[in-house]
Symmetry: C2
Subunit: 367 residues, 2 copies
Amino acid sequence: MVNIGIVGVGLVGSELLAQLHATSAKRLKVVGLTNSRNMVVSDTEYKSLSLTQWKQELENSSVAADLGVFAKYLADAPDHSVIVDCTASDAVSQLYPAWLKAGVSVVTPNKKGFSGSLDLYKEIVALAANLGPAPVDGAKSPLAYHESTVGAGLPVLSTLTDLVKTGDEIEKIEGIFSGTLSYLFNNFSSLSSSEGSQSFSEIVKVAKELGYTEPDPRDDLNGMDVARKVTICGRLAGLDLDLSTLPVENIVPGPLQSVASADEFMAKLPEFDDHFKQLNEGAKKEGQVLRYVGLVDVKGGQSGVKLLKYPASHPFASLQGSDNIIKFTTKYFPNGLIIQGAGAGAAVTSFGIYSDLLKVQERVEGF
Amino acid sequence: MVNIGIVGVGLVGSELLAQLHATSAKRLKVVGLTNSRNMVVSDTEYKSLSLTQWKQELENSSVAADLGVFAKYLADAPDHSVIVDCTASDAVSQLYPAWLKAGVSVVTPNKKGFSGSLDLYKEIVALAANLGPAPVDGAKSPLAYHESTVGAGLPVLSTLTDLVKTGDEIEKIEGIFSGTLSYLFNNFSSLSSSEGSQSFSEIVKVAKELGYTEPDPRDDLNGMDVARKVTICGRLAGLDLDLSTLPVENIVPGPLQSVASADEFMAKLPEFDDHFKQLNEGAKKEGQVLRYVGLVDVKGGQSGVKLLKYPASHPFASLQGSDNIIKFTTKYFPNGLIIQGAGAGAAVTSFGIYSDLLKVQERVEGF
């Protein structure tokens, strides 16, 4: 039996609780929940919290959130414990080393700890048995899994890890890592005649209204979310990528990068429709489409985030909706191993977290 | 430390030994090898066999192959053992229950045990901790992994398993599961003007000469290899599929199904080029291409192997080379989770086996 404590119970955390409830998960037991205000922990017998009444219990809890107390409660459990960080907080990710040192495993969709400071990343890797060098005989270390930091539940990081561990040589990882950017360019830049007639600003406007973008769409268009995913993949592939030095093509037009509000940005974006139209038509003349991609270039050293052109026959060109697509080019797969599908949303993010929890449970409980 | 015994050291078994050697695998130790004639097992201390001299040692061995003795040697080891079945033998797969009962795990690319007799399959599932119901507290059972039975090293079965275990509802699994059939129809049926001019028999002839087909191409065209993969996926998705009752469209023209030799088949296949041409042109008129697919239809009950038509925008239509492509349509992924890449060949098959071995080692050695 493995104890679970969940930090952050917004959309993803709630969905995870719903999936655990729906599957009557027998070897995983939720014993602690906390948001930024309150927390609930179970008793000294570490009984399961209610998976149906948790919301009221957390709201009505008189215990103020305290991640130190929360982590100690989990570390003190007689069985192994995992903290699931469902926040997007940099401060929470700074606590992973302390949790791991206390013997608590970490599972998270939070990109901060794995794409931020290289020192923090290396500390996490050194402490987690599945990320660092093979442990010496008999040594027991906690685990850290973060499948949902890239492509949500798509099996991107587990596949990359398997390739690396079995001696494959990763040459290149190329992908459309953002559902938002996928949607924008799949609609804006297409070789079929029925599409591609809308202006770039109109498509951004629709995407914003549908809730596909961040409240300020510049937070998507600046490429930093993609850059974090590139950094995570690159580090797993053995590169010491650093977010602060990774070349990232910010496609927010220069004069709009500094305007104060999202509203002002949206109001002025149509002034730059011609710029995007020219890029699109230039690609179209060559039988190509525009795609905003992240690139880990292990051999060539050209890792980064870029607006690139792809011919109609390329799998990236025929992408639809807001799908992510990731292509590994390796010694074992010289023509590429491709993984494609929804890379955002509570259900698929929670699926990735739940899969990671099962991996921890299986390793902890043995065979 | 986990002991490994390999049954069958042809292309795939040799590649696995090479990959283990190249990665200096520290927690996996090869202690036994056997082909259909000779075998070599290590000493009573279960020391590692030489990963560079194994071929000579096996050839020069005076010990006759005996799978009973081989399995007992592995079962008697103080540490956990795994038998890797690199044969395609039905008889070897019948031994899995005995091995599992003796506490030995099984890892294999051999489709027979997982796509043959439903009784055998259910016996394996009941004995392997990772396939059957969650074990009761403290119980230890061996494991059985068979990622490479479908799509070689592509993460098809691990992803399907994760989806099922986390409560996803599988609606449909649709795929081009055969590298051979992928190559034939990618070349024969294309919407681009530069392709599709060769006759079907010419493409089969080239594929045969390149070694892409079985010695008798009817063993590809009869759909039985695809049917086995459909059966394996369907069973993991919860269906009691049976190879003997699964509807399989044999695309070998009727009169050629009974001709005696592969040579006679190849000689007479051109007489049926018009038949295939008409099918292709019929599809093309609708803007579609022909693809030979396997289908697991969990909700509609239409599982089987079929020659189907797909529009240009479908990912199956733009497939190239001899890639496999598998699409899961589920509650979590209503628009599909797609995995694509090389699904045959020694390197990628061995990669799948090696990944499975790491899963066994991680579960056995714990965290």
